[in-house]
Amino acid sequence: MTIDKPPRSEGSDAASAAARQPASPIAFRLDPASGVPTYLQLVQQVEHALRLGYLKPGDQLPKVRDAVASLAINPNTVLKAYRDLETKGLAAGRPGQGTFIRATLSRVALPELAELRRSLLLWLATAGAAGLDDDGIVALVTSALRDFRERRGVAEGVA
């Protein structure tokens, strides 16, 4: 395995810190109770970060070694997640450097996202005031989203 191999210094802290520059905008975490396979959790976290604008094209994903050392997982798991992102066209490996974002899932810029979030929070407050609990809100949103998708699918001529 030669991917993301950092230069082996004699333990010089300055050198190893420099080797980690530039760092990735995101860090991974794992939820052992989720039942979702580890590699898929990593994929989903990258996609989530893309949707929310934490990651944008050109950003570097955490180096395999760093992800492995912080999560104590098999390097092959991280490689599998990155391969999956590459297959989806979201990321690309650059030999000797690491894996970088090449596409985005969010077509909306951060300020607009913030505005959308604000209006959603307003709606949530209204729903809460009307007596809906969290599960009720999720159910309503899920069902509305399904309707919305179906209608959009019809409009675009997609089955």
């Binding site: 395995m1 333990g11 104590a72 798991t77």
Partner: protein
């Protein structure tokens, strides 16, 4: 290339076989978990792999055909036995000196940097170090030999959760850096679930399951359906283990290309590694061993 290969391997202590008819191949580049109940033969197998015990039957080779225990094999393997064995009255710095002089290859710079990063005091006697520090010291000495195969016997049995995490992170980072193969044993599968991509399950002195974790998961399912149909269904399927209630039955089955669709009224669920392991341990007669592609069954040529 196989990191470990055995063919008809057996070890007898007196009249009792601790391990018998063990044939398996662990490809290089994997983290292989050796799992089984206490007394199943895990340590025996590990001792045979590293050359600390001689086989009573069969052959064991490591690192692409080197006979276990040969000079070439010993050069490429590092072994940490159970409970991180250290000389209790020596300090880490004395142990570095000792290990450097006992090995042909020893990366002292790596070992010192690693111990400093971990904050392990170099001049304190090993007996005064914490359990986590002792196991990290033993691991550091093993990794500084720059092995191609690292063998760990119950490495985390004594460690608290944080020390376990740090220990495993060290091993995984070494794999990312150097691409070494790892074989480690445990009777607690859950602590290996995140790291292992190859599983070897031993029980009662024989190998019951050996294969890549992804293959194992992909080739098993749990089927849930009416208990009244379970018997008829079991005749047509490869059932590893069945759990039955009055009305409902759960069957862990092996699937392959010939397996038909799930019958009406039954649901198929993916299986977790833990569920799968438990099912096999409960059914000692069931076995899942690699197909002919993954394993050479012809006698292995021993070369020097």
């Amino acid at each position: 290339m196989n990191a470990v290969e055995t063919n008809g391997l057996g070890k007898r202590y007196g009249n009792a076989w601790a391990l018998r008819e063990c044939t398996l191949a662990i490809p290089a580049g994997h983290v292989a978990a050796l799992v089984g109940p206490n007394g199943a033969g895990k340590s025996t197998l590990l001792n045979l792999v590293v050359g600390l015990a001689a086989p009573s039957a069969g052959i064991v080779t490591v690192l692409d055909g080197q006979p276990a225990g040969s000079a070439a094999a010993l050069d490429g393997i590092a072994f940490v036995a159970q409970d991180a064995p250290l000389y209790r009255n020596l300090t880490p710095s004395e142990m570095l000196h000792l290990t450097r002089n006992l090995n042909r290859r020893f990366d002292e710079g790596y070992a010192k940097a690693r111990l400093r990063d971990l904050g392990i005091p170099l001049e304190r006697k090993a007996a005064k170090l914490s359990g986590g520090q002792q196991s990290q010291l033993a691991l550091t000495l093993a990794l500084a030999r720059r092995p191609q195969l690292l063998v760990l016997d119950e490495p985390m049995a004594m460690l608290d959760p944080l020390a376990r995490h740090d220990f495993m992170a060290t091993v995984m980072a070494a794999i990312a850096d150097d691409g070494l193969s790892v074989l480690l044993s445990s009777h607690v599968l859950t602590e290996l679930e995140r790291v292992a991509d190859f599983l070897v399950l031993v029980s009662h002195g024989s190998v019951q399951v050996a294969g890549a974790v992804d293959d194992l998961i992909a080739s098993h399912r749990v089927l849930t359906g009416p208990a009244s149909e379970a018997d008829a269904y079991a005749e047509r399927q490869n059932v590893v283990h069945a759990q039955r209630g009055e009305a409902q039955a759960h069957m862990l089955v092996r699937i392959d290309a010939r397996t038909g669709p799930v019958p009406p009224g039954w649901e198929a669920h993916p299986v977790s590694l833990e569920e799968l392991t438990l099912a096999y341990l409960r059914e000692p007669s069931a076995a899942w061993l690699p197909g002919p592609g993954a394993l050479r069954l012809e006698p292995i040529e021993v070369s020097n």
